[in-house]
């Protein structure tokens, strides 16, 4: 089953906690519900994006530092 995680706030999406850090989750990694998979910067504050289902990261719809709108699909996971 596929599941899509969507942005709950508009802003700039980051896959890493800081520019020179490893991504929160690698492609193909397994995530549990509640795991942090990225950050969205909104008005100079950072909000964590968490997986709302458990599964395997299958396909990203956005890249690091992409501008995202509210409700935009970020990543698909195989549940």
């Amino acid at each position: 089953m596929g599941h899509t995680i969507a942005a709950r706030t508009p802003g700039v999406f980051y896959r890493r906690p800081s520019p020179d850090a490893e991504p929160y989750v690698a492609d193909g990694a397994t995530v549990a519900e509640g795991d942090v998979i990225g950050l969205i910067e909104v008005m100079k504050t950072f909000r964590e994006v968490t997986a709302d289902a458990a599964g395997t990261i299958s396909r990203w719809h956005v890249e690091n530092e992409d501008e995202v709108t509210i409700g935009q699909e970020l990543v698909e996971i195989d549940t």
Binding site: T9, P10, G11, V12, S18, E41, V42, M43, K44, T45, E65, E67
Partner: protein, 452 residues
């Protein structure tokens, strides 16, 4: 011939209300104003009101207003001979200031060297001490927990651990005793390293109920330095200012004179040029330097309202090589002014930043009221930048009248589509500590804790 002989065309490297403020000053002086903009700001007020506008890049700040290459390109293509950085973004970036100067273009502000010297908190402290300006008792840079504990024993608990390269209220951690200090020092060094690129931290005594009082200074290239009075910016949440006023209520005149003189002395000591702000904490009749901001500040309108000095116009004149239009005896404080920051944040949801479309907007007016905003109905407040979207500044012949006019203006002020801090201001303006003028830097957080 313009009144700012060395400058004719100013690129405003900013957005929102401060970009509009600078553009207005350019108009008043007969200078050409060049706006810059991101994708999100293509139809923004600062673009509409400028003489020319240059696109920088995508919406995120790093691709636009923080994009040095794009900004230098805009300077070249627009033919601007000066750059005004506003506040925030690259306004205190020494590298950008130098790059502008190296391109043969006038930087509206102090030199990159001065920005760098005052931007590093430890260096700024040492500079203040050299100028005879008192600083909060504290240590030099500490490189281990043991050093920090030894330093805290000298300055006395409670202490604050501060990142040397920090700013804007960030990179600061409190500690009440040795155990807590040991816990936070390593944390603070790690955080400082990732946030500011340097793990240098120092230990400073934490004052308990100080007022935040800052002094506006102006310095020209001819060696003239004046102070333009002080502001009280004690009402802060998480070290972010929400309401500011001038003059500082309840400040003893002799102490005021010493604080303002100290600020001017410090500006002289560093060879300052332009408009700047020297920030102090004031407690029990003592004052201590905390930092200097080497740019125009959000709250500059309250100083303008009580002195009649146009600080942004002075910045542009100074950049053009002119002497200050005022000397110290011309700076006379008349009446009182209060500024309220209107942020697109939800005070009922822990100040959640709230971008979105402005569906209705009614701005206040009448005697003593000044509104600084770039917002219009139908504008979308983008998620990419600061949440401060409008300011209300109110003047009265005395403080009670200013506050009465503020209540009237806040009642008129209506922003719909996004939550704002306006409702909070309407309650805050009746808070007894504010009305009495005896508020300090703990007042706002106590008020918020009580009202939630």
């Amino acid at each position: 011939m313009s009144s700012t002989s060395g400058v004719r065309s100013v690129l405003v490297a900013n957005r929102g209300e401060i970009a509009l403020r600078v553009i207005r000053a350019c108009r008043d002086l007969g200078l050409r104003a060049v706006a810059v903009y991101s994708d999100a700001d293509a139809s923004a007020a600062h673009v509409r009101h400028a003489d020319a506008a240059v696109h920088l890049g995508k919406s995120s700040a790093s691709k636009s207003y923080l994009n040095v290459e794009a900004l230098l390109g805009a300077v070249r293509s627009s033919g601007a001979d000066a750059v005004h950085p506003g506040y925030g973004f690259l306004s205190e970036n020494a590298g950008f200031a130098r790059a502008v100067a190296d391109a043969g273009v006038t930087w509206v502000g102090p030199s990159g060297d001065v920005i760098e010297r005052m931007g590093d908190k430890a260096t700024a402290r040492a500079t203040a001490e050299a100028a005879g300006v008192p600083v909060v008792p504290g240590s030099g840079v500490v490189t281990s927990t043991d050093e920090a504990v030894a330093a805290a024993a000298e300055v006395g608990y409670p202490v604050l651990v501060k990142a040397s390269a920090g700013g804007g209220g960030r990179g600061i951690r409190p500690a009440g005793d040795d155990d807590e200090l040991r816990r936070v020092v390593d944390e603070a060094r790690r955080e400082a390293s990732s946030a500011f690129g340097s793990d240098a931290v120092y230990v400073e005594r934490a004052l308990q109920h100080p007022k935040h009082i800052e002094v506006q200074v102006l310095a020209d290239t001819h060696g003239n330095v004046v102070h333009v009075g002080e502001r009280d910016c004690s009402l802060q949440r998480r070290r972010q200012k929400l309401l500011e006023e001038a003059p500082a209520p309840g400040l003893d005149p002799a102490l005021r004179e010493r604080i303002c003189t100290a600020a001017a002395d410090l500006a002289r000591e560093v060879g300052y040029v332009g408009a700047g702000t020297v920030e102090f904490l004031v407690e029990d009749g003592e004052f201590f330097f905390i930092e200097m901001n080497t740019r125009i500040q959000v709250e500059h309108p309250v100083s303008e309202l009580v002195t009649g000095v146009d600080l942004v116009a002075e910045q542009l004149r100074i950049a053009g090589g002119e002497a200050l239009s005022v000397d110290q005896s011309d700076v006379v404080v008349r009446g009182a002014a209060v500024e309220f920051r209107v942020n697109a944040e939800d005070p009922d949801e822990d100040f959640l930043p709230s971008p979105g479309e402005i569906t209705a907007l009614e701005l206040p007016g009448g005697p003593g009221v000044r509104v600084d905003t770039a917002l219009a109905v139908g504008d979308v407040i983008p998620p990419f930048y600061d949440s401060m979207v409008a300011k209300l500044a109110v003047w009265g012949p005395d403080r009670a009248t200013a506050l009465a006019r503020a209540r009237r203006a806040l009642a008129e002020y209506r922003v719909e589509g996004v939550p704002t801090t306006l409702g909070l201001h309407r309650r805050l303006v009746d808070e007894p500590a504010l009305v009495a003028g005896d508020h300090d830097i703990t007042t706002l957080e106590a008020f918020l804790a009580q009202s939630s």
